[in-house]
Symmetry: C2
Subunit: 324 residues, 2 copies
């Protein structure tokens, strides 16, 4: 059997045809942002899917199901609920709309949940039963697997660890709360940490010499990306290293707290900032260890996602079909 | 059918014979502290149970099972693992020892898990599927129910929210970590908060008039109990009120973070400090609301346990028999 994975993002919708082994046989995409009407959008996506299936000499009866990962995607209701980064507004009943075009099961969840489930079915968590996925990017998302099943809770929206309070009364988050993990460990949060560290540094040591690969102090701070910071940290830039060390502390504590909650056997990490490697991962593992209750010592590893960054969204969405 | 609930505490072991409706038909107790050998202890407990069953004109075949709540009780292994407050040391295989005397299933978990499960089967959470129980006392414990099942995780020790970090780098906890919720919201933590508030106050306003029911400043601070503080708070003592307001803030944030994790429909609260009522509960609900992600607004209530404080440990232990 085959499945279709759809990743609905604010800019692009990525669609993939996936086989039983988790190989993406073909993929295509649509500009999500060019649609304001959800029915028209689903019609266009459905048409792409049908063409793709035909091109691969398959038919609709070969499809086990259609899995969709979307911001604010709710498994129970099958709706995308007021996603702020979509041009299509309100509550969008994805399951119902897609069912107009396909007989097979249509399953929806949010993107971080899909990533966690994808890791479980196709990635580094194969054979595990209790894991947590943290996704670092524009925001900080999470997906939690308990006893082999996605933790959905009473609302279907469980697993929002990016909006657990990391610093009581701390930075204002995009959600309006104060001190969320996301306000510190998202790309925006990391850049803010860098700005604070650099302002403090520049006040005292503005003329310190800068080595090759470090961030040139003449570059406007607003032009520095998280990728620039990551490269500089890997070249030994002390301010960039300090930035990732602080980020790592928040993430490490959040992960230790997550272990106190659900005692997973592994925590997975993905997303742009996580790609920086050692400057983040070494202090992260240290902070994790320092803040973990002794009874959990050596019970949970921190691992990078083993799915290819370009594939994870489609594979995660496709994996949702396997949910019991 | 009937069941036996056993609550193993550091000082006392409480044993109850429980009917299908959650009524304790008879109870008795033993001094846990007078035993150093676990086999002798289990023999004595088993003898009490058999006598109690006979006295009620029942036989062992009427027993659905034996449920045990114990510090560090692990459901998977059936062992009490290095509980610091027991005179019997090491890893105690409770399931194995009790099985020598009884044919029926013997189920073990920690006391907070048992309390959560008791609330689900016999208390205010009947019919619910996703809840969290917080127990405030010498420590802060928690038990988490997901989809009607106790969350145990890969180790069997999930649900240690008292040792999630509430204040990064904060107070040293009895477990050795820094900033655990327990270091702020246990009885010891609450008294420490009071001492800090009073020291700050006394430095400036030592001679302010004190009203009836407030804590007399001539009383040595070490003689003040959490119950004294609760009574004073309910009489309007401003320092006691401030103490519970601060405690409430930590608890409210911890509860909001717990909702971001598992999205329960209700959070239950029990234990001595929770009995203080409004001085704790009003600011707690306020802090919960202020720190809760908007998408969870009005999805989770905070409630006091509906089980009698004298019964909850036995009923919780007995309820473990119902675990699927």
């Amino acid at each position: 059997m085959y499945s279709i994975g759809i990743d609905i993002g604010g800019t692009n919708t990525d669609i993939g045809l996936v086989n039983e082994n988790g190989t993406i046989l073909e993929r295509c995409n649509l500009k999500t942002g060019s649609f304001t009407d959800f029915e028209c959008y689903v019609q266009a996506v459905a048409s792409e899917i049908k063409t793709m299936i035909g091109r691969n000499n398959l038919s609709l009866s070969d499809m086990e199901g259609i899995g969709i990962g979307a911001p604010n995607g709710n498994y129970y209701s099958g709706c995308i609920e007021n996603a702020m980064n979509l041009t299509m507004r309100g509550v969008l009943n994805a399951r119902k709309e897609f069912a107009k075009y396909f007989d097979c099961p249509v399953v929806l969840s949010n993107d971080a949940n899909a990533a966690a489930y994808g890791e479980l079915i196709y990635g580094g968590a194969k054979g595990m039963k209790n894991i947590i996925m943290f996704t670092m990017g524009t925001g900080v998302g999470s997906g939690i697997i308990v006893d082999g099943r996605l933790l959905l809770g009473s609302t279907g929206s469980a697993g929002e660890l990016g909006h657990a309070i990391a610093v009581p009364g701390g930075r204002t988050c995009s959600c309006g709360l104060h001190g969320c993990l996301e306000a510190y460990a998202s790309i925006r949060g990391i850049l803010q940490t860098y700005r604070e560290i650099r302002a403090e540094h520049d006040a005292l040591h503005a003329n310190d010499p800068v080595k090759e690969g470090w961030i040139d102090p003449s570059i406007s701070i607003n032009e520095i990306s998280c990728r620039n910071l990551g490269n500089a940290a890997n070249q030994g830039d002390p301010l960039a290293l300090k930035t990732f060390a602080m980020t790592a502390r928040y993430m490490g504590i959040a992960m230790a707290n997550a272990v106190a909650f659900s005692s997973p056997e592994a925590i997975f990490l993905m997303g742009g900032p996580a790609q920086v490697g050692d400057p983040l991962l070494i202090p992260l593992r240290q902070a994790f260890k320092e803040n973990l209750l002794y009874s959990f010592d050596n019970t949970c590893s921190i691992q990078m996602s083993q799915l290819n960054a370009n594939d994870v969204a489609i594979l995660g969405a496709a994996a949702l079909i396997k949910m019991k």
